[in-house]
């Protein structure tokens, strides 16, 4: 008899509370934004923050409210922006060029002179606090790999010469590595670009020649002899204008005395 009471009491209690909750759920119902949920479903879900919003859900909310522009999602690229514009009913895809990170430095402890030996914690920003790094070149890579740690897709790796490299196939263009890098030696270049100037040093040629054998000495051979290559030298550093880049850049790379124009692939 007692067990029956126990059963009834608990059942009645649960019923009353359940009913009260059902009423409350009706009263406090939150209308969910259907558009935002649809957009969230097609976003890559990497939560990389390349769009400038807190995660994919933040960007989806902003898109559905119309406060954000379409096409900010670099991992998703043109495919995602097309799908988003279909949901929003704004028509065609926003054409965005796929950008990838590139480490504009091929210097390392063998080819670049060192000011001192760094023995602190393995973090580029920590090393940068000490006289802007152990390398004599204050513009280049510190080789401690803070960018490897922040990369959400493991596209950055260390090659056999201790150089930090980015795999353009894996890179989703989230720019996290460019933000963590203390020397800003990692810059975004278009995915279609075939070559890049692997140097970030703005010092005069004579200074660069003393401290690094693979740095740009601003000799202007690429600019003068290969005007079609897209290479221009400004502030003692050559750079590739990807809007003008042609196949001639391969010749410029071969002619470069310090071989600092390298293939981007």
């Amino acid at each position: 008899m007692n067990i029956l009471f126990a059963f009834l009491v608990i059942a009645a209690l649960a019923l009353v509370l359940g009913f009260a909750l059902a009423v409350a759920a009706k009263k406090f119902a939150v209308e969910k934004d259907v558009t935002a949920e649809q957009i969230l479903a097609i976003l890559p879900g990497a939560n990389c923050g390349a769009c400038g919003f807190p995660g994919c859900s933040g960007y989806a909310d902003a898109l559905s409210k119309g406060t954000a522009e379409n096409g900010l999602c670099s991992p998703g690229g043109a495919k995602t922006s097309k799908a988003v514009s279909e949901i929003l009913g704004t028509g065609g895809a926003v054409e965005t060029e796929k950008m990838v990170a590139f480490v504009h430095c091929r210097g390392n402890h063998e080819v670049t002179a060192q000011d001192y030996e760094y023995r602190g914690i393995s973090d580029c920003n920590a090393a940068h606090l000490l006289f802007k790094g152990d390398s004599s070149c204050k513009f280049g890579c510190h080789h401690l790999g803070s960018c490897i740690e922040v990369c959400p897709v493991e596209a950055i790796y260390r090659d056999e010469k201790d150089n930090i490299m980015v795999d353009p196939e894996k890179c989703i263009g989230c720019k996290k590595c460019t933000l963590v890098c203390p020397t800003q030696v990692i810059k975004m270049i278009p995915y279609r670009g075939s070559h890049a100037v692997a140097c970030n040093n703005h010092d005069k040629g004579a200074v660069v020649r003393k401290i690094c054998s693979v740095g740009c000495i601003a000799c202007k051979i690429c600019e003068r002899k290969f005007p079609e290559s897209g290479c221009t030298v400004s502030d003692n550093l050559s750079s590739v204008d990807y809007a003008k880049e042609t196949a001639q850049i391969a010749d410029a790379a071969a002619a470069c005395p310090t071989k600092c124009i390298v293939t981007a692939k």
Partner: protein, 196 residues
């Protein structure tokens, strides 16, 4: 006078987190910034206060007359779970940002032993309705106090160089332990000195 005593008891002497070690999950989980710590504290205080009243009513007007006191744990959990659901709905409706900040810890108040703890303590101590409510409220405020103090400490810790092995949760545990030691200073003699 007894109500002041109850407040002092459950905020300082028997602080749920720092002396009774109940509800440690949100103490570490939600204490990263003071804003969400205050929100969590408010939510728990509300749940504790209301839960004290409802569990008192359930116990004294349902379980006791029917001789079913052995069902107290089960029925209390039922009441607390529904209450938390209710609070979750209200917060989601009124403050979506707080809802996001609390995240998984909001539904986890359901399994927060501090809430069930105050309900059971009220019964064993033999409090009446008003005393139960006061005890629940005070316990919630004590919980909030511990959470807010902890979150302020952790915000400061974020700015200080901490050894890599201690960064994050380990240093939080150590600070929590030191806080618990400090709270040991509050004991029953405080109450007798204050209230005679």
């Amino acid at each position: 006078m007894i109500y002041i005593g109850l407040f002092i008891t459950y905020i300082f002497i028997n602080n749920f987190i720092l002396t009774q070690f109940l509800g440690l999950c949100p103490f570490i989980g939600v204490s990263k910034n003071s804003e969400s710590a205050i929100g969590m504290g408010m939510a728990v205080t509300f749940v504790m206060g209301i839960a004290s009243i409802i569990t008192y009513l359930v116990y004294h007007f349902l379980l006791l007359p029917l001789n079913l006191t052995y069902l107290q744990t089960l029925s209390f959990i039922l009441v607390i779970a529904s209450l938390v659901q209710f609070v979750e709905m209200v917060i989601q409706k009124n403050s979506p940002s707080l809802y996001q900040a609390l995240g998984i810890f909001l539904p986890l108040i359901t399994t927060n032993c501090a809430v069930l703890g105050i309900a059971l303590i009220n019964i064993t101590e033999g409090y009446n309705l008003m005393q139960s409510f006061t005890a629940g409220l005070a316990a919630g405020i004590g919980f909030t106090l511990a959470l807010v103090l902890m979150s302020n400490i952790r915000e400061r810790l974020d700015l200080h160089p901490v050894r890599k092995a201690f960064r994050g949760v380990p240093i939080a545990f150590i600070s929590g332990g030191l806080m618990a030691l400090a709270f040991m200073a509050f004991d029953k003699s405080l109450l007798t000195n204050l209230l005679g």
